[in-house]
Amino acid sequence: MNPIRAYSALVTGAFGSTNAIADTIVKATPLLFVGLGICIAFRGGVINIGGEGQMIIGALGTTAFALALPDAPPGIIIPASLLLGFVLGGLYGGIAGFLKAYFGVNEILTTVMLNSIAVQLMNFLLRGPMIDPDQFGRASRIPQTARLSAAFDLPRLVPTRLHAGAFIAVALAILVYIFLWRTTIGYRIRAVGLNREASRYAGINTKRYMVLSLALSGAFAGLAGAVQVLGLYHRMVTDGSPGGFTGSAGFNGIVAALFGQLHPLGTIPAAFFFGALLVGANSMQRAVQIPAALITALNGLVVVFVVSSELWRRRRARRREMQAAAEITHAAQPVTPTPLEAVKSLNSFPQPS
């Protein structure tokens, strides 16, 4: 196996042509949506692993809505159906938030379980009640719905597959940044995430904000699902595997957000990077037969490394604090403190969260 050929296949696959770049952006779009939600959740001190399930629920809602109203005017109908995906994803994420805040149930486990439940619900609906009537007579019976009315198609940059979803995602990234750092609610979400106890003493209803962060997080994942349906597939389709519809964007979005330092604007280039990896991996698989599952394994390692590197960042911040404190004590108090005093002053330092 020739590594240079493998890498060049990866790079040309992702950036080699206008179509390749468009595909990279198309792949990056759901990652960015999910990643924005992850930024909100993690900043709020809750961990949302349920992006997969929330995407599916949002997409199912949007699809059902669009199938029910085929001849509605596109001006209102596209925003309405996107909003529906947003709300449904939010409700689905809110379940885990509610259980976490009011029953103390670990949200990681519930979101993982909710993922599996959503996958089964999707498989059931797409093989049964929502299946494309055209698939009925056929032996293959692909689990997919009928094509949605063209009125629901997001504007597309012909001839590529690039659709308006990418622009919505970038605009929302800026909005999420403003929301988290420039509004009271955003401030409270971050305060609860940094120190739950202190926030409670400060009069913040921490439970409500935990539910809110998980619900908002789920809402962005739901929106990701809705945009995949309206912008890319124009129907809901799966292959029966857990990632059949989402392409594991619910997980990869977490990786992108962590890679973007849990900052909405940092998540934009991170999502683009992982979109490129995904598209490139597919062409690498075609060129040198390296399974695209490599990227999943790689993503796992990225997560592990990012959270591991936290320690160094924390240590560095701590050392700086110590130095600053030492300088202050030195200036104010030329006498060497007794060991007991030294210990006391050490303990009174603000602790890293």
Binding site: Q120, G128, V304
Partner: protein, 298 residues
């Protein structure tokens, strides 16, 4: 009983690491890697014992890596566990494509039987025989592990240390119990047992390997630890309930009861959430669970 085996191995391993204060969410990934390693080695050597050994070693290595990340690097345990899950998921699929390519079957552990009972005239004895005494080695090992785990946790010095570290690492540290060593030990042990849990699927129960074949069982195993209130016998009860639900769900499909199979497959996951709500109301978790220990900060 057969279906309870992977739950038991994984959940007992997780009991050890949670009792010492480490929430290892990489169980699913460790199981997948164990399932693949066990399957591949058995496929190559035709010897399930070597496969089991490979699964245990791979699981333990993944556990060790989790320990390095969560104990030495003091990383957020929930997220790093998910990282290991993704790694195991991708890596086992990658290796499967590279090394096997197609779905193969192996002859895994043979069923151990007692011939006298099988030919017995008494219906009761035959019933007992087919329910309790007609399984492979791994099934018996999993059930035998329950009292062993209970004994180790409650009646030995190392068990006391594990519980102390999970309950009050600061106090344990002042009494010269190395928090780091204990956690390294339990998380590696947890990985080893998760690897065996994976092998119990791929070379004990199904004798095939498929991508993502664990289907969330690793996460359910973590939930079982909560449900079992961090006690081995509680975990046993939970594992039995869950395998019963699994068996029911298979029966529903076999008997053609008009519940769509996709809906039936949901049952264990719904049950897990309900079990979690129920379990959390009842008992206190180890005080230091998923908290990072740093000397001099407590």
């Amino acid at each position: 009983m057969r279906l309870a085996t992977p739950y038991l191995f994984a959940a007992l391993g997780e009991t050890f690491s949670q009792r010492s204060g480490v929430l290892n969410l990489g169980v699913e990934g460790q199981m997948l890697m164990g399932a693949f390693a066990g399957f591949y080695v058995t496929f190559q050597t035709q010897n399930p014992w070597l496969g089991l050994l490979a699964a245990a070693v791979i699981g333990a290595l993944m556990g060790l890596a989790m320990a390095v990340v969560s104990v030495t690097f003091k990383a957020e345990q929930g997220i790093s566990g998910i990282g290991f899950y993704l790694f195991g998921l991708g890596m086992s699929e990658l290796l499967f494509h590279r090394l096997l390519g197609t779905v193969e079957t192996v002859s895994g552990f043979p069923t151990l039987r007692i011939p006298v009972l099988e030919q017995s005239n008494s219906l009761i004895i035959r019933a007992i025989d087919s329910i309790f005494l007609s399984h492979n080695f791994l099934v018996y090992a999993a059930f035998a592990l329950v009292p062993i785990a209970w004994f180790v946790l409650n009646k030995t010095t190392i068990g006391l240390k594990i519980r102390a570290v999970g309950q009050n690492p600061g106090a344990a540290d002042t009494l010269a119990v190395s928090v780091e060593k204990v956690r390294y030990f339990t998380v590696t042990l947890g990985g080893l047992l998760s690897g065996i849990a994976g092998a119990s699927l791929s070379i004990g129960l199904l004798n095939v390997f498929q991508q993502g074949m664990t289907a969330g069982q690793g996460f359910i195993a973590v939930a079982l630890v909560y449900f079992g209130a961090w006690r081995p016998f509680g975990v046993l009860l939970g594992a039995m309930i869950f395998s019963l639900v699994n068996a029911l769900q298979l029966w529903v499909q076999v008997l053609g009861i008009p519940i769509p199979s996709d809906i039936a497959v949901m049952m264990p996951y719904v049950l897990t959430i309900l079990a979690l709500i129920f379990a959390v109301q009842r008992v206190q978790q180890p005080a230091a669970l998923s908290k990072i220990f740093e000397r001099g900060e407590h």
